[in-house]
Amino acid sequence: MRKLVHKRIEEISRGIAIAAGLPEDKMPEVRFPESFTPALYNNPELVDRIWNSGVRVLGPEHVIDEPPQMVGEDFSRYGSTEHNVPTVMMWLGTVPSTRIQNGDLPGLHSPFYYPDPERSIETGVLVTTTALIDLFNGK
């Protein structure tokens, strides 16, 4: 699919340039990067373990099953080497419920994005510390 998208970007760019009457030496230059960020894979067994740690400290209603998203994260690389390290990236909620109810939800990369620092950081430290200690103890 990636190859097909590349091919179409090249064909479309070149085709429009030809239609505009540009000569061969002025065709658009399409530059693809040498490497791309691989898709992020959350190891299912590790997700289960972190899920359990999260439920224990936050309660089941605060551990949410999140669907995949189309953003990229180069954290994926740590699990994509030849060592096949099992990795998990966890979402940390950052918006007070009242703002969710009001639809006041500027997204990531929005100049208006503002997380709720106190609660987010408290939750982040609590869950991460618990999950790490559990992992160290084979839980």
């Binding site: 998208v5 179409r8 479309i12 760019s13 505009a20 009457g21 002025k26 658009p28 530059r31 960020t37 898709a39 590790l46 997700v47 936050l58 949410i64 999140e66 669907p67 995949p68 998203q69 189309m70 953003v71 180069d74 954290f75 740590y78 699990g79 390290v85 099992p86 990795t87 998990v88 990236m89 966890m90 940390l92 950052t94 918006v95 007070p96 969710i100 500027p106 997204g107 990531l108 100049p111 208006f112 994005y113 997380p115 620092p117 106190e118 609660r119 987010s120 950081i121 408290e122 939750t123 982040g124 430290v125 991460t128 510390t129 618990t130 999950a131 790490l132 200690i133 992992l135 160290f136």
Partner: protein
């Protein structure tokens, strides 16, 4: 004798339940310090590959907690290790970079920083929550140190540069992260969610984030006076048509049951109203 047994029975449930509330109490006690650290980070965002002060600050804090810190592991990457007996080796990563965009929140700790970005003066902002990630990371480091007796193993905490340009993880791995600091048994990271309520976490299994890359298209043309378009081949018009046609890749070329996104995030070309430029970059 009877009294002793009773005493033990009452003590037992307290011991069993003490593990969690202890940690909660510790985290709460450290929270004011962490939130002011967060605000300091938020007011001083540094973009990809320029995380000099941010990484130095994190390195200093981690040394103070008692971690063994190595700096400059792949650009401004830092590796902080806590060896605590025999056990698994776990990697926990935070990213450190911000974005080249002006903050528009009206928070009293919003960022006023600006930089020269490819010749244009632009603000910088932690609009991807990496300041939350770093603060959580630091708070966790402190909590892992404070609770050293409860676990055994090696905790490898890394501060990664340049996440926003998809370069930092590669930089750190290429600089020998696994060779010098060992291959971890597990890797963990977290990301701020702009839609999940604070106080909660989200987890998904399998492929949860997409493969991504950034493509540049340099559209050439023939420049001329804006009032003499017949003397030009206008790259602004060519580029506009390319932008529109790129929308058909996902809608007309891909199987509708598969997912992809093509976004043109920047168009650059021209200087002045009445000059048709000879180049536009997408």
């Amino acid at each position: 004798m009877k009294r002793q047994v009773l005493g033990l029975l009452i003590l037992l449930p307290i011991i069993l339940a003490s593990d969690q509330p202890d940690l909660e109490r510790q985290v709460r006690a450290n929270l004011d310090k962490l939130v002011s650290f967060y605000k300091q980070l938020h007011q001083n965002p540094e973009i990809s590959l320029q995380e000099k002060e941010t990484s130095a600050l994190l390195a200093r804090e981690m040394r103070e907690i008692g971690f063994d810190v190595t700096q400059q592991v792949g650009g401004y990457g830092i590796v902080a290790v806590l060896k605590n007996g025999n056990g698994p080796r776990i990697l926990y990563r935070t990213d450190m970079d911000a974005l080249p965009m002006a903050e528009k929140t009206e928070l009293d700790y919003s960022s006023n920083k600006s930089i020269d970005y490819n010749g244009i003066t632009t603000g910088t902002m932690h609009s991807c929550g990496h300041d939350v990630h770093m603060t959580t990371w630091l708070g966790t480091a402190q909590a892992m140190m404070d609770n050293k007796k409860q676990w055994k193993g090696t905790l490898v905490m890394i501060g990664q540069p340049a996440e926003e340009i998809g370069a930092g993880a590669k930089l750190m791995l290429d600089a020998g992260l696994y060779k010098k600091f060992g291959v971890p048994d597990f890797g963990f990271g977290l990301h701020s969610s702009p839609t999940l309520p604070s106080g909660s976490i989200g987890l998904g299994k399998g492929f949860t984030f997409a493969a991504t890359e950034s493509v540049d298209i340099v559209v050439k043309g023939v420049g001329a006076h804006g009032a003499a378009p017949h003397m030009s081949i206008d790259p602004v018009v060519v580029a506009s048509m390319i932008v529109m046609d790129l929308q058909t890749i996902v809608s007309r070329n891909l199987n509708p049951l598969e997912s992809a996104v093509v976004t043109v995030g920047a168009i650059k070309g021209g200087t002045k109203h009445n000059i048709i430029p000879d180049e536009v970059t997408l």
